[in-house]
């Protein structure tokens, strides 16, 4: 019997599968259409089909890891749990006021703007008598009578889930714990999230918002995971190694993921970054910008020296969440993004998207609005004879050109080709601006970075974008369409812990800091142990959040080894100054520094899928050559050879103009660009400098 490791990544249009044969190290990849409302239908159906095709028994599945959009969808579609909130008496304003600002850009002019929708209405917010002070001292003990009254009200109002967030609970969690016990006693059916567990950090609004999001999603994710778990059992999959990838790029067991649902909201895009991280650290390309261009949106992230940039919180779908996550920047533009002409007769691209139904005009499913994909068809980049997504879709060039003509070319007095070129140029500028957000705007020099392009549309646009931005080159992985799913077989189990203790760095006693760190480590160790990992598989990462006194934000500084480093806090101080200089271009060695948070990540290694793919022993360009097509570059159509990627052997070079075809994506090399297959099966395009 084979031993199979399976990664399943649910996307808006397709559910992607990667199946690794543990002994042989071979990969099977395939896609099935995603299902709604129950994403599990596609997963179970796709898996059952695969097993019956391959003849493997269900027991051969030794590992199952999943990237899900259940949380994201619940937020976007506002169908999370009926949620209540419990706060300190007198402080209902924290959640209702939120940040108080409106953000930057055109929203400042928008007199009709709304704040992000509150997930809990004020009438489901209850107050309890209690107060803890800034040193964690109890100023007013929790009044049990007021607590019981609050709980009874919420029970009467039939909430499914409750968020509890009291002032300074990160210093003194006992009052929240007491409330959790009371809920368990009075109403055990209600799912309770307390802020001192979900996000034990200073700054009450962000902690509260995070706890509310968690409460809002927990019941839903719980039901989903429970159902998926049950159906895997029914299918006969015995393994306990069932994981979900979270926003931090690590995986967690079904049980853990379910109780901390807020940590799964970037589950989808995280896996692709993990793949890139492993390519960066193993294939000798340490600096990458990931470029995952799909149908409706594009995700970009930066990997420096093999490590993805992380952030300790931020806005996700307009909601403030304070949990560690990969620093992924998303723009609402992809292959399905619609082009249109505005009132000032200017060509605009996005933000609306044609989605998968009707989809771009070229899908021939009744779409009449031109999209980026239609423009690529009109330019000959995507050809009608080369169906998308492994044959699932045939492209209708006439429909694409008709849509572009009617909606863009005719009103603007342009040819269809000019209009199509314009659509692609404008979407490429948007992509470039997104790439700048994670790179040059944060002090990184793009000349040191390769663009790691994947997703259905990434390789189509990558070579031109990277060249225009002066990047070092482009790397296109073997299976661009399932690169995210592959990340599911590369992720470690990871749990993040934080402790807030705002204090002047000069006043921090090494012994005290060490005991905070060791306390967090013990929690991580216990968690990993309960998931069945032996201590020799576990490692820990230590970080501190520091800031100059008076600053409104902090920087995370990594500590290589705690006891050693805490012996000399001045050294830590110096590392902070250096980090500040790198990120902001300046530092202030004479200003005082304060500690805000202590962080520990507990990581357990799991066996990984190989990144290299088998290549043909000796290919040739002739063998790979799949005919010629006419592609529009710069100012004219040029005869452009098409090559089948599967016939390209290691070391072979393809010079542009060229179109490289494979099942799940298409790569375009511009005139004069050259791509080489490396020994791992990755296509590398070096910039001409």
């Amino acid at each position: 019997m084979r031993r199979l490791r399976i990664g399943v990544d649910t996307g808006g249009t397709f559910t992607d599968f990667v199946v690794l044969d543990e002994d042989r190290g071979t990969l099977d990849v395939f896609k099935v259409p995603s299902t709604r409302p129950d994403q599990a239908d596609a997963i179970i159906g796709g898996l059952a089909d695969y097993l019956s095709r391959s003849g493997d028994p269900a027991e051969s599945v030794a590992f199952f890891c999943h990237g899900t959009t259940v949380g994201t969808n619940a937020i976007l579609e506002a169908n999370g749990a009926r949620t209540g909130l419990v706060v300190t008496e007198g402080f209902r304003g924290i959640y209702e006021v939120g940040e108080q600002t409106r953000g930057h850009g055109s929203i400042i002019y928008d007199l009709f703007f709304e704040k992000p929708r509150a997930l809990v209405p004020a009438r489901l917010t209850e107050e309890v008598l209690e107060r803890v002070g800034s040193r964690g001292e109890v100023q007013l003990p929790l009044d049990e009578k007021s607590a019981r009254m609050a709980i009874e009200q919420l029970v009467r109002h039939k909430v499914d889930s409750v968020a509890v967030c009291l002032l300074f609970s990160f210093k003194h969690p006992e009052h929240e714990q007491q409330l959790k016990r009371l809920f368990g006693e009075i109403a055990p059916e209600i799912n309770v999230s307390i802020s001192s567990e979900v996000s034990p950090e200073i700054r009450e609004y962000y902690r509260m918002s995070t706890t509310v999001v968690n409460a809002y999603l927990n019941p839903l994710l719980g039901r989903y995971v429970h159902s998926l778990d049950g159906r895997l059992h029914e299918l006969g999959v015995p393994t306990d190694q069932r994981y979900i990838i979270r926003s931090n790029g690590g995986v967690a067991s079904f049980e853990t993921a379910r109780d901390r649902s807020v940590q799964t909201i970037l589950s989808g895009p995280a896996a692709g970054v993990v793949t890139a991280q492993h390519v960066a650290s193993s294939a000798g390309i340490p600096n990458l910008v990931t470029f995952d261009m799909g149908g409706t949106s594009t995700d970009v992230a930066l990997i420096k020296e093999g490590e993805p940039v992380r952030r300790m919180g931020g806005k996700v779908h307009g909601l403030d969440v304070l949990v560690p996550m990969l620093d992924i920047h998303t723009v609402a533009a992809g292959g399905g993004t619609i082009a249109w002409v505005d009132e000032m007769e200017a060509l605009q691209v996005g933000p609306r998207s044609a989605g998968s139904d009707p989809g771009p005009a070229c899908y021939g499913k009744g779409g009449t609005e031109p999209t980026v994909t239609d423009a690529n068809v009109a330019l000959g980049v995507l050809s009608a004879d080369q169906p998308l997504a492994g044959g699932a879709l045939k492209l209708d060039r006439d429909a694409a050109e008709r849509a572009i003509y009617e909606r863009i070319a005719k009103p603007l007095g342009l040819s269809v080709t000019e209009a199509a070129r314009g659509i692609v140029e404008i979407v490429n500028v948007k992509m470039q601006e997104a790439i700048k957000v994670v790179s040059s705007n944060r002090g990184y020099d793009l000349r040191d970075f390769y663009l790691f392009a994947f997703g259905g549309a990434g390789p189509l646009h990558a070579c031109q974008i990277a060249e225009e931005m002066g990047m070092k080159g482009v790397v296109i992985p073997p299976y661009p369409g399932v690169t995210s799913a592959l990340g599911l077989l590369l992720s470690d189990v990871r749990h993040d812990y934080v402790h807030s203790d705002l204090r002047d760095l000069n006043d921090v006693q090494p012994g005290q800091a060490e005991s905070i760190f060791l306390g967090l480590r013990d929690r991580g160790m216990a968690q990993l142990r309960s998931e069945g990992f032996s201590p020799d598989l576990c490692r820990f990462v230590w970080d501190m959040d520091l800031r100059y006194i008076g600053q409104g934000y902090e920087l995370t500084v990594a500590l290589p080894d705690i006891p050693h480093l805490l012996d000399d806090l001045r050294q830590l101080r110096q590392r902070f100054d250096e980090a500040h200089l790198q990120l902001t271009g300046h530092f202030a060695p004479n200003e005082r520094v304060e500690v805000v948070n202590y962080r520990v990540s507990a990581i357990a290694k799991v066996p990984r899928a190989p990144l290299a793919v088998p290549l043909p022993d000796h290919g040739s360009l002739d063998l790979a050559h799949a005919g010629d097509t006419a592609v529009f570059f710069h100012d004219r159509f040029e005869t452009t050879p098409m090559y089948q990627r599967s016939f390209l052997a290691a070391g072979m070079e393809v010079t542009g103009p060229a179109v490289i075809l494979q099942n799940d994506s298409t790569t375009v090399l511009g005139p004069g660009q050259a791509g080489t297959m490396d020994a791992w099966g990755y296509l590398r395009v070096e910039s001409r400098l």
Binding site: R102, A346, L347, S440
Partner: protein, 568 residues
């Protein structure tokens, strides 16, 4: 050759990308806390005539100031502007700068001999001299007390720092390193924009870029004129008030606009506004024009470019000696309260022009400062910008607890305040019934209550609407007034005006700050029952107000409430 529309659009997208890159850079490299944390800095690209061609809104009024800066540079340096120069100025009268604690930096961008553009920014400074640390004093009676005034001068001449100017800057600030660090950051940011513009010219050609600058303004002008022409001709008036100028506490200040709209022309006449004030509430005409740009963009389309094309459509009239056209050297440092009132008056007048986009009065802006000594003798300054509320909008309630119009400040976390300052926050909540009643209810204001733990401290308030409420429209009620009360409910209770400085506080004093609510729109009797019930259950409207102001059936509402609370 006619400009191809695709290239024009690509260049326009790139221009906005360049400004965003400059913006990020100025925040990244800003040296002082105020630039880094409050993000009180804006970058722009202007064409050689000083018309804005690229912007990314941070603070809308900065957009109106920089064209004046360029005009002043020409006035002083015509024929002596060279590649590699960088100009600075903070002068509200000579160069139209917002107030003299803001420093403008402008760098001319040349292509060969040809002056293509200016890359410019305005950023708040930590200190440029004057009566008090931080330069802007609420007690200033003339410009000369509001810091050192710099007319446009070269900080850098053909690539070389002018040592005399640097020396004068250094000698006239309480924080010379910070301000010079910030100014260098602004120059670096402008140079970044310059480099990007050069790349753009290399790629698309000088003529194409110049054509695009003209084209994007022409398009905006054409669109705005077309929209204006679609509005009904007529005369429309609006007014708003600020409680006082911080010096003459009993004299409310009136801001008035009379809009004359004929065909595709629109004139904003401010001549009936109050006389200029003794205190620093005055605001200069370029910024008042900025308020008009703000209102026009808001009314036409928030995505409309705020560029030179829009500016060409706006005609204005002022009365010299008024609060909106003060005579030099009248002080201007707390101009923001006036600017907000101007924006409100203009929006009110425009309610007549665009009946489908009506907006009621706003809950006002303002900051609070508590400064004092801790028990260990160290001093502290607790500075908070507390938001207020939007008035009701056509078809929508107002937004509660938010920064309004031209203002965009963040709330300060209670847990950080209590950790850093000797103060305990006792309450933070929305105030029931503070939103003006109406078919659409005004936004609710915020109440914040503090217990002073320092042995002694001083309180300064730059608020508003303690005597002049946010107006309601079409039968909607005005919003609730704001208040600042020391020791409420005790025999020492003391009610304070909205604008003052230096009130003494002692340990154990309770300070209750209540912001003003937004105005309502339409008759409260027309508010649908379901929405009214929601408001009552949410605690936004009291039972009493629902009955007396909204005309709810007391029995029916009482039953709903008892049912909700389970007290049946």
């Amino acid at each position: 050759m006619a400009l191809d529309p695709i290239t024009a659009q690509v260049i326009q997208n790139r221009l906005s990308g360049i400004v965003q890159e400059m913006q990020t850079n100025i925040f990244r490299t800003g040296y002082s806390t105020i630039v880094r944390e409050s993000q009180d800095a804006s970058c722009m690209i202007l064409d050689a005539n000083g018309a804005v061609v690229g912007e990314h809104v941070i603070l809308p009024l900065h957009i109106a100031a920089l064209p004046e800066v360029v005009r002043a540079i020409y006035a002083a340096y015509q024929g002596r502007i060279y590649p590699g120069d960088a100009f600075i100025t903070n002068h509200p009268y000579i160069a139209g700068v917002t107030h003299s604690i803001d420093m403008a930096v402008a760098v001319p961008v040349f292509v060969g001999e040809r002056l293509l553009a200016f890359c410019a920014s305005i950023a708040h400074k930590s200190d440029l001299g004057g009566m008090v640390p931080g330069t802007g004093s609420g007690n200033a009676r003339e410009l000369f007390q509001e810091g050192i005034q710099y007319p446009p001068v070269k900080f850098i001449d053909r690539g070389e720092v002018v040592p005399e100017v640097e020396a004068i800057l250094r000698a006239n600030s309480r924080t010379p390193d910070l301000i010079l660090g910030d100014i260098r950051g602004q120059v670096g940011t402008a140079r970044l924009g310059e480099e990007r513009l050069h790349d753009m010219v290399a790629r698309y050609g000088l003529d194409t870029v110049l054509d695009t600058f003209a084209d994007l303004q022409d398009k905006t002008e054409k669109r705005v004129r077309r929209v204006i022409a679609g509005w009904e001709d007529g005369i429309f008036e609006g007014e708003a008030w600020v409680d006082n100028d911080g010096i003459e506490l009993d004299r409310p200040i009136r801001y008035h606009v009379r809009i004359e709209k004929t065909g595709e022309r629109i004139l904003f006449d401010f001549s009936q506004s109050a006389d200029q004030t003794l205190g620093p509430l005055n605001v200069r005409p370029p910024l008042v024009r900025g308020c008009c740009y703000y209102a026009m963009v808001a009314m036409i389309d928030p995505e409309l470019g705020n560029n030179g094309g829009l500016a060409r459509c706006i005609e204005t009239r002022f009365r010299p000696g008024s609060v909106l056209d003060p005579v030099f050297p009248a002080p201007t440092n707390t101009y923001m309260a006036s600017a907000t009132a101007v924006a409100e008056a203009v929006l009110q007048a425009m309610n007549g022009l665009i009946p489908q986009k009506k907006v009621a009065g706003m809950g006002g802006v303002g900051g609070m400062v508590i400064g004092g000594q801790r028990d260990d003798g160290s001093s502290y300054v607790q500075y908070e910008l507390i938001g207020a509320a939007y008035g009701a909008r056509s078809g929508k309630d107002g937004v509660s607890g938010v920064s309004v119009l031209l203002d965009n400040a963040k709330t300060a976390p209670i847990e950080v305040i209590e950790t850093e300052f000797p103060v305990q926050v006792r309450r933070f909540e929305l105030i029931a019934d503070s939103g003006g009643a109406g078919r659409h209810r005004g936004g609710l204001a915020v109440r914040r209550e503090y217990n002073i733990l320092a042995p002694r401290a001083q309180l300064t308030l730059r608020g508003g609407k303690h005597t002049q409420p946010a107006f309601g429209i079409e039968g909607g009620s005005p919003g609730r007034l704001g208040a600042c009360i020391i020791n409420p409910g005790t025999e020492n209770e003391q009610s304070l005006p909205s604008r003052f400085g230096g009130v003494a506080l002692l340990r154990g004093d309770i300070l209750r700050l209540e912001k003003a609510g937004g105005g309502g729109l339409g008759s409260p009797k027309d508010r649908p029952w379901e929405q009214l019930v929601e408001d009552v259950l949410n605690g936004y409207v009291s039972y009493e107000s629902a009955v007396s102001d909204y005309g709810a059936d007391p029995d029916k509402l009482g039953e709903v409430l008892r049912d909700w609370r389970g007290t049946n």
